[in-house]
């Protein structure tokens, strides 16, 4: 089975390490780190990801703009996106979801909550890919 590639976009090195450390508990996953939105976009141009975990407040290109960029690309339009942020206002959540985020987790994080969200979204994503390939073959 192919490994699921997860991109962590976070300008805080400590937080990026903590998220990456938590995700190491998941088997069959490869973790790639980006230190802000523009770094993430560069990585997106080179490789494909199965899930994205992004912060909102980042220099240069923030999380909202990054989500817009991802959703505007045909190949990445359905990639699951999880927002992990210190921002917790209903407006931020609504904006994040309206742009296409699939989950919103506030900091400080509990690794169990994050892992659960990642596992559920990866499962749904893999199932939809499988359905698509069956449709194509059919």
């Amino acid at each position: 089975m192919e490994k699921s590639k997860i991109l962590i976009v976070e300008d805080s090195e400590t937080m990026r390490h903590l998220v990456s450390f938590a995700l190491k508990r998941l088997s069959n996953t490869e973790i790639v780190e980006a230190n802000d939105g523009s770094d993430a976009i560069k990585k997106f141009r080179r490789e494909h990801f199965d899930l994205v975990i992004t912060d909102l407040m980042m220099p240069h290109i923030d999380g909202f703009k990054l989500i817009q960029f991802i959703r505007n690309q045909q190949d990445n339009a359905r990639i699951p996106i999880i927002i992990v942020s210190t921002r917790y206002s209903p407006e931020d959540r609504e904006r994040g979801f309206s742009l296409g985020a699939n989950a919103y987790i506030s900091k400080p994080i509990h690794s169990g909550t994050l892992l659960q969200a990642v596992q559920n979204l990866l499962k749904d994503h893999n199932t939809s890919i499988l359905h698509k390939s069956i449709e194509k073959e059919g």
């Binding site: 805080s12 090195e13 400590t14 937080m15 903590l18 450390f21 917790y88 900091k107 400080p108 690794s111």
Partner: protein
């Protein structure tokens, strides 16, 4: 002869009477038996037993049912025991997850505090720990200046750095805590306590007896109801590890300065 006949008739009457009473008694017993059977039937029906089971020939089936009922009771007891065990496992799972989170937080925090000797990076790491790992909204970080007994504000989050004053060790709440070296926190009785402007947590950063700095937390993020035991572990870690990281950075900076001075002197000596 007549007397003999009379005697026989008397005896016959006596026996006849006796048989009659015996018959009546037997009839009464039969009636009572029938009544009891009827009562039993009513009783069994009230227990919802099927009619065919009431047949005495089905006693084996009844005993099988009894055995099965006993088995059901035993299974119910076992299920209850397994359920109780499951609840215990669930509680232990939650505890382990919490412990895991705590260890991950402590590992990552200490890893980053000691991964550099640059003062700026250490300060950035301290901020990241307080914002991302603890979930503080307003806080300030102070460090010891060249002037002894004074703490200078170097980081302010959620407030203006210019508004913060120097702390004199031993004066005011923060100064007193800096002098004692013990972590201070306001006991959290309610979730989301009202902001008073006063620090809710004060962490003196001490390397052995030498005060290196101080962290004051004034409020938590809105989604963070109250401090958890992981936070207190992080405060203890910050108190000692942030202090030693600051100390190492200071030493590194001093030794670097001395090294460049020495190099300069050597260059001058070479030239002369």
């Amino acid at each position: 002869m007549d007397k003999f006949k009379d005697k026989i008739f008397d005896k016959a009457e006596y026996f006849l009477d006796l048989f009659t009473k015996g018959r009546e008694f037997t009839e009464e017993l039969l009636k009572e038996n029938e009544r009891l059977r009827y009562e039993l039937l009513k009783l069994e029906r009230s227990k919802n037993f099927p009619d065919e089971l009431l047949n005495p020939s089905n006693t084996r089936m009844l005993s099988t049912i009894e055995e099965m009922e006993e088995q059901i009771d035993r299974l119910k007891e076992k299920i209850a025991a397994v359920e109780a065990e499951n609840i215990d496992f669930a509680k232990r799972y939650v505890d382990i997850e919490e412990e895991n989170d705590k260890l991950a937080n402590l590992y990552v925090a200490s890893f980053h505090l000691h991964s550099t000797l640059e003062l700026q990076t250490i300060m950035k790491t301290i901020s990241e720990i307080i914002i991302d790992l603890v979930g503080a909204e307003k806080f300030a970080v102070y460090v010891t200046e060249n002037e002894p007994g004074k703490l200078m504000p170097v980081i302010a989050e959620g407030m203006n750095l210019k508004d913060l004053k120097f702390i004199n060790v031993g004066q005011g709440k923060e100064g007193e805590i800096a002098a004692t070296g013990d972590i201070f926190f306001v006991p959290q009785e309610d979730d989301h306590p009202a902001e008073t402007g006063e620090p809710i947590v004060i962490i003196p950063l001490k390397m052995k007896d030498e005060l290196m700095g101080l962290i004051s937390i004034y409020s938590l993020l809105s989604q963070k109801a109250k401090l958890t035991h992981i936070d207190f572990e992080l405060f203890s870690l910050l108190a000692s590890h942030a202090a030693s990281a600051l100390f190492s950075a200071k030493m590194y900076s001093i030794s670097n300065r001395k090294l460049s001075t020495m190099e300069g002197i050597f260059e001058l000596l070479k030239d002369s």
